[in-house]
C-alpha cells in the first residue's frame, strides 16, 4: 500500500519539478502580495488632501489651522491646501481632487470666545468612507483639543488618560502580515497541487490509466494529498523565510518554534488540500478550479484575521471566522512568530486544524470518484 501511494506521490512530484514556472510563481506571488499589501495599507491613512477655507481670520481660526498643520507634519494624515472660496473647495471635493474641505465660518473666533458651541463646516466625499472617517476622526481630535484650550474655565476637570502597556516588541504592519503571506502561499499551493492535478488528469483523460490499476480510493486520495502537502509546505516555508528577511522581522528562533511552524503549515495545507478534493470531487475542467480558487481565496483569506482583526467583524462574519481554518493558522503563526513559542497558546489552533483535516480527509475519501 505504501509503495503504491509513494509511486503516485512520486509521479506528482516529478511532474511538478518539471514545471519550474509553477514553482517560481508559487513562491513569488505570495511575496509580491506581501510587498503590495504591506505597503498599501500602512495601518492608518496618509496624505489625504484637505482643502481649508478660512473666512474668519481670527485668533482661534489661526490656532485651528496650526493644529491641522501639526497633523500634516506629524502623522501625515492630511495634506493641507489653503483656499479662498468655499464653493471652489466643494467643487474640488466633488471632483475628487480633495478628500475633504474644512470651512471655518466668519464668526468662528467670536463664538469660541463667547463660549457658544463653535461650528466648523466639513465637506467630505462620503463615497470614500474610509478616507472620510479618517478625516473626521483626525479633525475631531484637533478640534476637541482646541475646545479644551478655549474652555479652560474649569481647572479641575478630570480627563481620563490612557497609557498603553506594550506586551511585545512592536511589529510593523508589513511584518504583521507575513503570516498572511504564508497562508496565501499555502492556499496557492493547495490550488496548484493536489486536487488540481486530479482535475488536470481528468481534463486530459490521463486518469483513465491509473483508475484501471489496483490503486484504491484511499491510496489515490492520500497520494494526491501527500504530494500536495509536501510541495505546499516547502513553498510556504520559503515564503516565510523570504518574508522574515524582507520585513526584517525578529522572530523567536529555536527548534521547537520551527517545528511548530512546520506543523501549523502542514496541517493547514492538509486540511485545505482535502477540502479541495471534496469540492473538486467531480470536476473535470481546470476553469472550475480557477473560479473556485479565486472565490475561496477571498472567502477564507480576508475573514482570517490576516489583514484586519477578527474582533472588528460583524457577528456573522466572526461566526464564519470560527470555522475558517485559515483563522486558526493565522492565529497560530502570529503567536509563534511574534510572541515566541508557547505550546499552550497554539494548542487550540493545532487541535482545530487537526480536526478540520480529519473531517476533510474522511469526506474526500467518501466523495472520491473511483470510476470514470
Amino acid at each position: 500500500m505504501i509503495t503504491r501511494i509513494f509511486a503516485f506521490v512520486e509521479r506528482d512530484l516529478r511532474k511538478f519539478m518539471r514545471n519550474p514556472l509553477t514553482i517560481f510563481s508559487s513562491i513569488c506571488l505570495p511575496i509580491v502580495y506581501l510587498l503590495v499589501l504591506g505597503n498599501s495599507f500602512q495601518g492608518s491613512l496618509k496624505n489625504l488632501p484637505l482643502g481649508l477655507v478660512d473666512l474668519d481670520h481670527g485668533p482661534y481660526a489661526k490656532r485651528m489651522i496650526e493644529r491641522i498643520r501639526s497633523l500634516e507634519v506629524g502623522p501625515d494624515t492630511v495634506e493641507m491646501r489653503m483656499m479662498r472660496d468655499s464653493g471652489e473647495a466643494e467643487a474640488q471635493v466633488r471632483s475628487g481632487q480633495l478628500k475633504g474641505a474644512l470651512i471655518i465660518p466668519p464668526d468662528f473666533s467670536k463664538a469660541v470666545f463667547r463660549g457658544t458651541t463653535p461650528q466648523v463646516g466639513l465637506i467630505v466625499d462620503n463615497t470614500d468612507s474610509v478616507s472620510a472617517a479618517a478625516l473626521q476622526q483626525a479633525l475631531r481630535a484637533a478640534f476637541s483639543a482646541l475646545k479644551l484650550d478655549a474652555v479652560s474655565v474649569r481647572p479641575n476637570r478630570v480627563v481620563p488618560q490612557i497609557r498603553s502597556m506594550e506586551l511585545y516588541r512592536k511589529v510593523d504592519y508589513d511584518a504583521s502580515i507575513v503570516p498572511g503571506a504564508v497562508i496565501m502561499a499555502i492556499f496557492m499551493g493547495t490550488m496548484t497541487t493536489g486536487a488540481f492535478n486530479l482535475v488536470m488528469d481528468r481534463f486530459l483523460g490521463v486518469h483513465e490509466s491509473y483508475l484501471s490499476t489496483p490503486l484504491t480510493k484511499g491510496e489515490l486520495v492520500l497520494g494526491i494529498i501527500i504530494s500536495g502537502v509536501f510541495v505546499t509546505t516547502l513553498i510556504a516555508l520559503v515564503v516565510l523565510g523570504v518574508g522574515i528577511w524582507l520585513t526584517d522581522l525578529r522572530v523567536a528562533a529555536g527548534v521547537s518554534s520551527f517545528l511548530a511552524v512546520v506543523m501549523v503549515i502542514a496541517l493547514s495545507a492538509m486540511g485545505l488540500l482535502s477540502m479541495m478534493c471534496v469540492f473538486l470531487a467531480r470536476v473535470d475542467h481546470p476553469r472550475i478550479v480557477g473560479l473556485f480558487g479565486g472565490f475561496l481565496n477571498i472567502i477564507f483569506f480576508f475573514p482570517s484575521g490576516a489583514v484586519y482583526p477578527i474582533e472588528s467583524f460583524p457577528a456573522w462574519l466572526r461566526a464564519f471566522s470560527k470555522v475558517n481554518p485559515e483563522s486558526y493558522a493565522v492565529h497560530a503563526l502570529r503567536s509563534i512568530l511574534f510572541k515566541g513559542m508557547n505550546w499552550q497558546a497554539v494548542q487550540a489552533d493545532l487541535l482545530f486544524l487537526s480536526g478540520f483535516m480529519g473531517l476533510m480527509l474522511l469526506l474526500s475519501t467518501l466523495t472520491f470518484k473511483r470510476t470514470l
Binding site: 509503495t3 509511486a7 484501471s212
Partner: protein, 349 residues
C-alpha cells in the same frame, strides 16, 4: 477448451436516454484475439470500460479472468492490462519513469521491475529514447509505450481500445506486429476494439461486429466473409465520362441492375483514389454467370466500361451487408475495396 477469459451477459449501459450498450452477450475464449468492430459511437469504448471496471453497467453482468467486474474489480484489475483509446502516458515524465511508476501501482518488486522495464523497452524499440520526456515522442512511439505499460505486470488479458487510431500506416503496421508477437510470447488473450476492417482482419480470430450498442454478428473473419449472401460480388468500374455526372442515367442503371432476380444489392462507391470514376458493387448469386449479363446491361445503358471483375468479400462488405451502411461513412472517408481482401493473415487460428 480453456475457460473463457471474458463472459458477458445481457450487458446494458444507458447514458440518460442513450443506450450505449443495449443488451450484449458473448464469450471470449482464453488465448485468442477477440475484436469488437464497429463504427464511431457503436459502443466499443463503453464496452471496454465496463469490462475493465472503469464504469458500472446499468444492467447485466460481466466476468473477466473469472472475476465479476462489479464484485471483484480489484482482482480483475490485477489480471488485466489496459491500453485506452486516448493516450494516457504522462507527457512530462520519461518513458522509463512512466513504466516504473505504473509497475509500482501493481506492486511489482524492484528487481522484477528493472528486468521487465528494460525488456519491454527493448521489445517496443524505445530503449534509445527511454530517458526522454514522452512529450517529445511521436504518436506511434507513445502508443508503443502505452502497450509496454499495459503489459508491465504480466497480465493474462490485454484490453486495447482502438490501438492504432490516428497513427500513420507504417506505425499501425508496427503496432500490429508487436501485438501479434506479444500475444505469442506472453500467452495473452487480447480483447481489442477497432473501426478498421484490416486491423480486425489481421489480428483477430473472432470478431463481433457491433453497431448502436448491439452485436450485429459474431464469427471468425473467414466465416463472416462466407456469410455474405451469394458469396459473390461483382465490381464494375465505369469509364470516365462527362455525362456520368448526370445522376439520372446512373440511377436508371442501378435500378435496372437491382431489378434482376440474381442481383441482391447494388452499392455505389464514389471513385477510386486517383480518378473520379464510379464504382458499383453488385451482390449476385453467381458471379461468373452474372458478369457477361451485367456487362451487356452497362453497355446497353450507354456507359463505357473501365473494368469488371469478381471481388473477394472484405469485412467492409460484411459490415455493409449486416448494417446496411459503410462502417466509415461517419468519417466521410472513401472506401477502398481492397481492404481486407488483400491483407495476408499472419496469425493462424
Amino acid at each position: 477448451m480453456p475457460k473463457p477469459a471474458v463472459v458477458v451477459e445481457n450487458l446494458v449501459k444507458h447514458y440518460g436516454k442513450q443506450r450505449a450498450i443495449d443488451g450484449i452477450n458473448f464469450d471470449v475464449a482464453g488465448g485468442i484475439c477477440f475484436g469488437s468492430l464497429g463504427p464511431n459511437g457503436a459502443g466499443k469504448t463503453t464496452l471496454i470500460r465496463i469490462l475493465t471496471g472503469l464504469i458500472q453497467p446499468t444492467q447485466g453482468r460481466a466476468w473477466v479472468a473469472g472475476f465479476d467486474v462489479s464484485q471483484g474489480p480489484d482482482a480483475v484489475r490485477r489480471a488485466i492490462g489496459v491500453v485506452s483509446q486516448a493516450m494516457t502516458t504522462d507527457l512530462d515524465l520519461t518513458a522509463r519513469e512512466n513504466l516504473d511508476i505504473y509497475a509500482r501501482y501493481y506492486g511489482v518488486s524492484y528487481k522484477e521491475r528493472r528486468r521487465r522495464i528494460e525488456a519491454l523497452l527493448e521489445r517496443v524499440g524505445l530503449t534509445a529514447r527511454a530517458n526522454d520526456l514522452v512529450a517529445s515522442y511521436s504518436g506511434g512511439m507513445r502508443r508503443r509505450l502505452e502497450i509496454a505499460r499495459g503489459l508491465i505486470h504480466k497480465p493474462s488479458i490485454l484490453f486495447l481500445d482502438e490501438p492504432t487510431i490516428g497513427l500513420d500506416p507504417q506505425s499501425r503496421r508496427v503496432v500490429w506486429e508487436l501485438l501479434a508477437q506479444f500475444r505469442q510470447d506472453e500467452q495473452l488473450t487480447i480483447f481489442l476494439t477497432t473501426h478498421y476492417m484490416d486491423e480486425a482482419d489481421f489480428l483477430c480470430e473472432r470478431i463481433a461486429i457491433i453497431d448502436t450498442g448491439k452485436i450485429v454478428v459474431m464469427d471468425t473473419p473467414s466465416e463472416l466473409k462466407k456469410g455474405i449472401p451469394g458469396g459473390n460480388i461483382v465490381e464494375i468500374v465505369l469509364a470516365q465520362d462527362q455525362s456520368l455526372t448526370e445522376d439520372r442515367r446512373l440511377d436508371t442503371l442501378i435500378s435496372k441492375l437491382s431489378s434482376r432476380p440474381f442481383v441482391q444489392q447494388v452499392i455505389q462507391k464514389e471513385g477510386g483514389a486517383l480518378t473520379d470514376s464510379i464504382r458499383l458493387q453488385v451482390y449476385v448469386t453467381n458471379g461468373p454467370e452474372a458478369i457477361p449479363i451485367l456487362m451487356g446491361m452497362v453497355q446497353d445503358e450507354g456507359f463505357g466500361l473501365q473494368s469488371i471483375g469478381l471481388m473477394r468479400p472484405s469485412l467492409e462488405d460484411v459490415f455493409i451487408h449486416y448494417t446496411g451502411r459503410s462502417i466509415r461513412a461517419e468519417e466521410g472517408q472513401k472506401v477502398n475495396f481492397f481492404i481486407g481482401a488483400g491483407v495476408p493473415r499472419r496469425m493462424g487460428g
